[in-house]
Amino acid sequence: MRIAADQVLGIALIGLAAFIAVQAIQLEIPFSYEPVGPKAFPLGLSILLTVLSLVLIFRPGANGQWPHKALALKLLLVLALLLAYAILFTQLGFIVSSLLVVTALARLFDATWGKALVTGVIMSVVGYFLFTAVLGISLPSGYWFASFI
């Protein structure tokens, strides 16, 4: 019998529940006037989660469609792009980082190079002035460019 995705999920969730329970038990509580401390609620939840996961393991639902290899690779690429955006956001400033990331994202979503570049330029430049001038939000202008602007 093949293992359904739901069964893997159920086992993972039981692991999570055990982890939560162990963490809750290890909490060191200073003297408190309350009859119920901070442990009881997470403990109760972990028991509930275990019960629900057991049901899931014994009565799994249909397997959903999972991304094939090419798509999974694209997913990772998009995630890497978003991560790069996070890192570059303050380093390069809003305009440059957005230009790079928007262009790359548009390419990943099947735009041609030309269209992607135009989208990138418009979104980063117009976006910058819209956010800063119209909405009064301060955005990073970038360490490199701070001296020029």
Binding site: L13, P35, S53, F89, F109, I137
Partner: protein
Amino acid sequence: MFDFLIDGFGVALTPLNLGLALLGALLGTLFGALPGIGPINGIAILMPLAYTLGLPAESSLILLAAVYTGAEYGGRMSSILLNVPGDAGAVMTTLDGYPLAQKGLAGPALGLSAVSSFLGATIAIIGLTLFAPLLADIAVMFGPAEFFALMIFAFSSMSVMMGKDPIKTAIGAVLGVLIGTVGIDSGTGVLRYTFGMPELYDGIDFVVMIIGLFAISEILLMLEHSQNTNDNGKLPPLGRVFVSLKEVLACKGAIGRSGLIGFIIGVLPGTGASVASAVSYTTEKRLSDKDNTFGTGDMRGLAAPESANNAAAVGSFVPMLTLGIPGSGTTAVLLGALMLYNITPGPMMFTERPEVAGGLIASLYIGNVVLLLLNLPLAGVFARVLTIPRWVLVPAIAILAFVGVYQLHSDLFAIYLMLVIGVFGYLLRKLGFSLAPVILGYVLGGLMEQNLRRALSISGGDTGILWQSGISLGLWIAAALLLVLPWLVPKLLVAARR
């Protein structure tokens, strides 16, 4: 008795708030029409912007509520024109809406759905005005034990009604509650699940959670759709976007009944527009489908779910405003938005912050009229939104998400956390979970624990207090019945037939 409404109109009719209601209605319709962006995503993306603009609480709530009701209008566009529901609440609209468009009646279908949305919402807004103050009067008597029982009721009603898989709905809610326990415990000051990271001491921030869970996971999910769908972005011809009085009158029964059904289902905690439109469609089919025309482009089959989903959207404000228990995933997000302003919705809001409660209700009246006026002449313009390619949409969502989170936190940790939550949301959706229970659990979990612990402190640890009063006992019984009946009733029916 209706003083709050008169004061509310005073608040809602100020130029700023009127402008925001208009802007919200416009943006909401656009967001609703955009493929993949329903009301929750729209509000999630706009909320940090509204907050950083320094709007007062009532103004920001008016804006977001207008986005919510506007998105219910916009969701019908792609259902009718492309047979692709914009969100779960619009699935039923495709059944008769798309056949109508194929018959060349796309224009009248859009017109009828705008009118029935307007009428359904009107029924529900009147219901909200009448019942919310009454419910608030009852809710004032609620103590911690009653609130705890109410939340148990909300979670069980959600598990039964929302989504097709009750177990996964319940697991989603538990995960949401668990995410809510991260941070300093307010009762004792103990750190829970912070793993030594000072950034987590205040818990997982609401805006980070919402944007990660909805906006980032949507970006990842869209990648898949761009590969699977082969829609070439061609729209059927709209024709006249106009519906005659005769056509509306032919649907008056469907609109009226569905408006009522939608309102009642919307009021029930945890169940929203998707359940309401499904129930109203099947009811209407049973009642008035004499010639088996439902599903082939019957006007009534379009009017019923459209009336119901807007009525449910409004109805879900009732428990949120009076009890502090959101009626749907989207109102859970609105509740969190209010908490950003240090306002805890609940029975006291009508007396302590009447400008918020009254202003919101008054703005719903105004927004509803604005939406009808916007949607009849501009349906053609909104329909063009459907042709916006994903390679424009996705980068725009990414920019809005990053700016929103960066604006509130200015540190990278929040952005990393947003991405992690985004992946978590994506995995949940791939595994067949709906995200609304997660967000409801996250918003309600903290309150649930507080009320439980407060109740048990009052009784000195005696758990009997939880079901001592009539109200809480009734809620426990109702919750138990909700969980047992769907499983029991079919078996009894089978037994009775033998």
